[in-house]
């Protein structure tokens, strides 16, 4: 294996070793966990207590501090899933497969959170729980894409095959996301005269977007924590036959 791929940087195939990945993730986890915890707490307090209320939407505006980070995370998680899947397909890298698989449930829950907060925010803003707003609609479709990937993972018993199939599907979805987004945006402008939108607003004041930034970074740290936890689990399951896993288990 090694002499065939010597053009790759060293860390790349160190990463390909499940054991090395397991250990490095174990070392990184506490740091990210602390960062996520502090950032999310600080961000939430700032968002709820100190950020000013919006002149139009009042205090319901504070939902943005959940809605935007979760929507962003749902999208970037999909990207990560597709890219990790592609790496797994091309270089037969097992760890990348496991990362891709771990992305799916996190991304799906983030999409659900973005949809739920969007709907809740919609009630005081638009007067109804659901509006076929372009952003909400494309988030809904993103959720469908996630559900498809998860369904495929659970339908195929062979782990290696499931990983590859899901990677192909995720890549197909990735190509489609811009098309879907464009078509939904366009369809939305056709069907709905633009009322004021949830998140698109002219120049937000710094005391409003700073807590948002904190929350976004906090969400990403939280994502890292959850992803590493799940990936470590996947590594244990798929490497159950390896001697280092047995030694690890014996120690406990």
């Amino acid at each position: 294996m090694s002499e065939k791929k010597n053009w790759m940087p060293r860390w790349f195939y160190q990463l390909a070793s499940p054991r090395w990945s397991y250990e490095i993730m174990g070392k990184l986890l506490p740091g990210f966990a602390i960062a996520a915890f502090l950032l999310l707490i600080a961000g939430t307090v700032w968002a709820l207590l100190f950020a000013p209320s919006d002149y139009q939407q009042g205090n319901s505006f504070r939902i943005i501090y959940i809605h935007v980070p979760s929507a962003l995370l749902a999208q970037s998680c999909y990207m990560m899933m597709a890219i990790a899947g592609a790496i797994g397909l091309i270089w037969k890298m097992k760890v990348a497969d496991m990362v891709a698989k771990s992305c799916a449930p996190i991304g799906a829950t983030m999409a659900v959170l973005a949809l739920a907060t969007g709907a809740i925010w919609g009630k005081p803003t638009w007067g109804s729980w659901w509006v076929w707003d372009a952003r909400l609609t494309s988030m809904l479709i993103l959720l469908f894409l996630y559900l498809g990937v998860i369904a495929l993972y659970s339908a195929i018993e062979n782990e290696a095959m499931a990983a590859k199939s899901a990677a192909v599907l995720a890549l197909v979805g990735l190509v489609n996301i811009p098309i879907i987004k464009y078509s939904v945006d366009w369809w939305n402008t056709l069907h709905q005269p633009a009322t004021f939108k949830l998140t698109e607003r002219p120049a937000m004041a710094p005391e409003m977007w700073l807590p948002l930034l904190v929350m976004v970074i906090g969400f990403y740290c939280f994502f890292a924590v959850s992803l590493m936890m799940r990936t470590r689990n996947e590594i244990l399951v798929r490497e159950r036959r390896a001697s280092w896993v047995k030694e690890l288990v014996e120690k406990q």
Partner: protein, 211 residues
């Protein structure tokens, strides 16, 4: 690397939590006939599927004429013939149409000799009957007719003699020997006692499998 037609180096394959084979290394040279033996579930079919390039759930390396298999796939596919559990015969097509389709898919198959080959496998007079009207054995013979048509170097045959009568088996064994005599190679599995066993190299997966 020697000039072995196919060389397998430290092949490892596990399936459903079971190691089928581990550290499996062997070569197939030109003119050799190899019979893979082993109990049911010992991984014979899996091995043949891996060798044919259908499955890549393995670790280790496979070399075709000295080059890594994954780098010479197109050349490799030009020179192999695979006969699997499913005969690869379309039920609604006639034997002749089925073989014409193979010829389109595999340039190693000579489409002009199809009538001759069907006669060889005893399907004369059935050329125009859809395959679903034929018996299971006849369907397999449609697929085996490819052996008379192909110019492929390596034949990978998984249980080729199932549902074939004695006379047919003897005939196919002779065909295999002829192929080997002409410098071709065969790797096969079968439950039949081969009449040509003295010319066949055997190879038992049970003894190789790590438990």
């Amino acid at each position: 690397m020697s000039t072995a037609l196919l060389h397998v180096d430290k092949l490892y394959c596990e399936r459903d939590d079971r190691i089928l084979f581990e550290d499996l290394s062997f070569s197939i040279n030109a003119g050799e006939v190899i019979q893979v033996e082993g109990q049911n579930g010992s991984g014979k079919t899996t091995l043949l599927r891996i060798l044919s390039g259908l499955s890549n759930h393995y670790e280790g390396d496979i070399f075709w004429k000295g080059a890594l298999l994954s780098t010479v796939q197109d050349d490799f596919r030009r020179e192999i013939l695979y006969f699997g559990h499913h005969p690869g015969v379309k039920a609604v097509l006639t034997p002749e149409e089925n073989l014409h389709w193979y010829a389109a898919m595999h340039p190693s198959i000579d489409g002009k000799k199809i009538a001759m080959a069907l006669e060889q496998v005893g399907l004369r007079g059935f050329e125009d009957s859809p395959c679903h009207t034929l018996s299971a054995g006849q369907n397999r013979r449609v697929s085996l007719a490819r052996l008379y048509l192909t110019s492929a170097k390596l034949w990978i045959l998984d249980e080729p003699f199932t549902a074939i009568d004695k006379k047919g088996v003897a005939q196919k064994e002779q065909l295999i020997l002829d192929h080997a005599a002409n410098g071709g190679s065969v790797i096969l599995t079968t439950h039949h006692e081969l009449a040509i066993s003295e010319k066949v190299r055997r190879f038992n997966l049970d003894e190789l499998a790590g438990t």
